[in-house]
């Protein structure tokens, strides 16, 4: 029943007409709640504006990397799923018959559920809309309807994601003791590798900085949290990690599909910081965690919990540009291109701090075009980088990631020879996951030595006080 040959949800076919009717009725109840202030106060205003005023002029279509990356398939046009929802809204919520035909049946419901997961929520389409309609938001709201009313969400985000995080402390399933063990291991590695004794501090009351990493880094790219430990130790920053539930994992998958799950995780992360009486929270290299804790949670927080939150991009900029971390850019004498994570750039406006750091530590920077707030999503946004099952991986690499790979190849034009190491700097775990899969699928590491990693690794690789060779150029 998927509108294409891929599936993010693998919804089972209803076993009987009664079951089908129940599901359709549940969708209809959710549709009504989506437009009710008590149920959806969080996004009702922008949703209403988008649904009631989009003129379907298709000005947004060419801005969408999925629509253009698919060869302009109609089902991926930003207005396609919105138009179905719009017609359903006018027919079943506003009881107006003039807004176009639509039938509410299991096929429509199933298609909408899948189509809500054919959008990276990067909101590049919204940027192009002259009216201010936001088709990215419409996809987000559809995901909420399915999750909050019908309990339908990709298992990677919900059952194996936010539910696990709320139960164990991390979406990786790592409990506090496991997290401490992992960091002990990272500390040993970093000490050996850099020559600087590293001991990650835990639960330090009154520290200046509570650092929260995406726990996925610990498992997949431990050199990134390790690099932060090296930087903060070498710069003499007063910092700590928290072992409180959810506070040692910055991820908040609810951001992508469920307001309640989002609020539950965010409130616990902030509460942990309040308990430790830290001066500020710094979010590691994770784009969605940046937006979740800094922007989206902002109005949810009572004044007593509204603690300062800061991006690790600005922290690194301050450490590097102030001279607290002496660097030798010659150690990074390879071409580097910078990927702007959508959540940091278009959705938060953080575009220059990371460039200031890069200019200080890398002599050969190749910008992608377009960049900054006009960047293209990597194709892994909104949780897709975590989702691979049921041929979804093929779609996210071939369709969602197509434009980004064009950009990467254009940025490295003239230095594609495998004798030249090249580095995609992606200061976001989700984006790194997508780049890993994109480069592997296209064989670009083996054939052209295009590597990927974070920004912190580049800083530590350039630090004069660190043994040379922090970046190991080993595929992982």
């Amino acid at each position: 029943m998927s509108p294409d040959r891929y599936s993010a949800l693998a919804l089972p076919q209803p076993k009987s007409p009664e079951e089908e009717r129940e599901l359709v009725d549940a969708f209809r109840r959710g549709l009504e709640k989506l437009f009710r202030r008590a149920d959806n106060w969080t996004f009702l205003r922008p949703l209403l504006i988008s649904i009631e005023h989009c003129v379907r002029c298709q000005t947004c279509s060419e801005a969408c990397h999925i629509f253009t990356g698919s060869g302009r398939q109609e089902i991926y046009r930003p207005t396609y799923r919105s138009e179905i929802l719009r017609r359903l809204y006018f027919k079943y919520v506003r009881h107006s018959r003039w807004q176009g035909a639509v039938e509410l049946n299991w096929k429509t419901v199933c298609e909408l559920a899948e189509l809500a997961y054919r959008c990276n929520l990067c909101r590049r389409c919204a940027q192009a809309c002259p009216i201010g309609a936001d088709n990215g938001l419409v996809a987000h709201e559809l995901r909420k309807l399915f999750s909050q009313e019908m309990g339908i969400a990709p298992k990677e985000l919900h059952a194996a994601g936010s539910l696990v995080q709320l139960r164990t402390g991390s979406s990786t399933g790592m409990n506090p003791a496991g997290a401490r063990d992992s960091f002990d291991f990272i500390d040993q590695e970093m000490t050996e590798k850099t020559g600087i004794p590293i001991k990650t501090p835990w639960d330090v009351e009154g520290a200046d900085v509570l650092l929260i990493h995406n726990a996925g880094e610990v498992l997949s790219w431990p050199e990134n949290p390790g690099a932060f430990a090296v930087m903060l130790t070498a710069a003499g920053v007063s910092w700590t990690l928290s072992s409180d539930l959810t506070a040692y994992d910055a991820v908040n998958y609810g951001l992508w599909y469920d307001d309640v799950q989002f609020a539950r995780v965010a409130l616990r992360q902030i509460e942990a910081a309040r308990k430790l009486k830290v001066k500020r929270i710094v979010i590691g290299e994770c784009g969605h965690a940046h937006k979740a804790l800094t922007v989206i949670a902002d109005r949810l927080l009572p004044s007593g919990l509204n603690l300062p939150r800061e991006s690790s991009m600005t922290l690194m900029r301050d450490l590097v540009l102030s001279g607290r971390l002496p660097v030798d850019p010659a150690r990074n004498s390879f071409p580097v291109t910078l990927h702007d994570p959508c959540n940091m750039a278009r959705l938060m406006g953080i575009t220059e701090a990371q460039r200031e750091v890069l200019r200080a530590v890398c002599p050969d920077i190749r910008e992608m075009f377009p960049n900054r707030t006009d960047n293209y999503c990597c194709g892994g946004g909104s949780g897709f980088a975590l989702m691979s099952g049921r041929s979804f991986l093929d779609w996210r690499l071939q369709v969602a990631g197509a434009r980004k790979m064009e950009q990467v190849l254009a940025a490295f034009e003239g230095c594609m020879d495998p004798s030249i190491d090249k580095y995609i700097c992606a200061p976001c775990s989700n984006c790194k996951g997508q780049f890993r899969d994109l480069l592997a699928q296209r064989g670009l590491w083996k054939s052209n030595r295009i590597f990927y990693g974070g920004l912190a690794e580049l800083v530590v690789n350039a630090m004069r006080d660190v043994k040379p060779g922090f970046i190991e150029w080993e595929w992982r």
Binding site: D39, W41, P46, L48, I49, V55, I131, G132, L347
Partner: protein
Amino acid sequence: MLLSCLAYLAGAVFLAGSALRAAKYARTPVPLRWELYPIPPGAAGQIRYTLAEILLLRGVWAHNRKLWFRTYPFHTGIYLCALAVASLAAGVEWFTEAAALAGLALLLAGSCALLAARLSDPSLKPYTSPADLFNLGWFAAAAALPLAAFALEGAAPASVWRAVLRFHPVPPLAGAGVALAALLAAYIPFTHMAHFVAKYFAYHNVRWDDRPNPAVAAQLLYTPHWSASHIGARDAQTWADVATANPPQEKKP
């Protein structure tokens, strides 16, 4: 007399309808922050951005050039016609005839061009509702009738409106044009064409608004009714109760 009453009434309905729509969006709950960058710096930057968007349709020019050549005359035609009628009502008349004629011509050309696109462009046609065709057809008729009256009855559009505003009689075709335009003006605020109202909220209250808002505290006391089991919303529980609960942790053996 009746036509003049209709024109004044339509103007009042337009203003009241627009105000009602603005009130509708203003009364919606304060949303969570949902900014979109780049945000023009400062009030002056935001005014410059808004003016370029309204007067030049900059976004359409940048992202959909083909459509711009259809929609720019349409919108400019509306602006010129509105300017002509407003100027007449304010007693400023020296440029109104030229503005009205130019406005009507642009509006007719623009609405016909948009109508043609809606009927033929494969990227627009499947997304076009009967209401869209009806609306564009109405605009085209409301622009064509006064031009026909000018050609056939010698009734210049601004003169016609001057007469209507002063409760003087007008020729029949010209009168029909006035009636069509008046009804259209009264109808617009109740349709998606009132995006001039929505746009303010979309930009100033959503995309460009990163301020804290104390109104949210009261919204945390709303009672949600979402049915999925993981939400755990029970009778009379507030949004804050639901958000501070942790069903997965509570269920832990």
